[in-house]
Symmetry: C2
Subunit: 222 residues, 2 copies
Amino acid sequence: MQVAQTSNFGVLGTGVVGQTISSRLIALGYHVRMGARQAGNEKAAAWVKAAGASASEGTYADAANFGSVIFNCTSGSGTLAALGAAKADNLRDKILVDISNPLDFSKGMPPSLFTPTGDSLAEQIQRAYPSTRVVKALNTITASVMVEPTRVGGGEHDVFVCGNDAAAKAQVAALLRDGFGWKTVHDFGDITGARALEGYVLFWVRAWATLGTAEFNLRLVR
Amino acid sequence: MQVAQTSNFGVLGTGVVGQTISSRLIALGYHVRMGARQAGNEKAAAWVKAAGASASEGTYADAANFGSVIFNCTSGSGTLAALGAAKADNLRDKILVDISNPLDFSKGMPPSLFTPTGDSLAEQIQRAYPSTRVVKALNTITASVMVEPTRVGGGEHDVFVCGNDAAAKAQVAALLRDGFGWKTVHDFGDITGARALEGYVLFWVRAWATLGTAEFNLRLVR
């Protein structure tokens, strides 16, 4: 598969999303380094122990340096700080798959976006790291379904990518299809498509409350 | 059907959405008055001529006064002015189905929302007219599909309502199901659900560009 252009992935974040993505990449035969604020993070160390010889952990900078492709699985509110700690040199020219969402829960439910209208977190990242090939993806789905679409609706539902670098998008789309099992990957254009994908998350949160489960997704029908 | 509690509808707006909704209501056997900034609006007059004896037109105030249920089919940027012209007395205690979207195209594509994050146009309407029973609905779909869901995907896709008045929501949901033919009407809770439904429209615009047609919709799959 096309994504085998690399065998080393860096994953920023030790939460459910980071662990789910990392474990799936290990299962696909890749090497994964999970990054946290500090090396020796308890959750990262436990994950490494369970994941085996292809797994390692360290700081955000360690993970970013290790990966040819980097997944940002930090919470939206911590993303820019995490990338700063990862260091621009370790992000230069690399593919950064941004799964984060700029959700502000400070006023309770429903959350709002902390990015102003007409902007998105992925665009903020792209502006801060101009040579990094940012691809927004997977932020519209709960973690378990990201890597196992057949958990809902027989896998007949959709995922989206956007970004300014066509080759980077194609590589991520190939990983989603061939690695994670997605049948339908829509190309939502350049990085401004992240406004659509992040705005959708407000809808997602309400649908989650309505349906009573996070294990759902949308299918576009024509 | 439950919506037969009323037989008179007011429709604010003479564009494609207003004409589509109005014509469908006429076909269902109701009386409809279409409202515009001024009585005698050219598009409204042409619609009345085509729609027959149950159709009439006038000012926004005329339409609001006539209807027991009122559809807001004005553009988002003109909505609050149109409701002001419709006059609070004519909106008091009535159901207002709000189809508008707070889209700002002033900076080109993609549009942004002119409501700040953590708010929505429907909430602004509800705050301005506290006794009016605002129900957000249908703003997530192109006009032709609003009243004929079978135009896409065999009708197997979803529509949403939200609002603070449960009886009003139930009446609108019944009209959507029994009158317009919707199979799945999700209740997105109180009027703050409009943040989700209006935020979704940024996603809709991108999907429209990607799919190359406005005749699509989403289905939530579990």
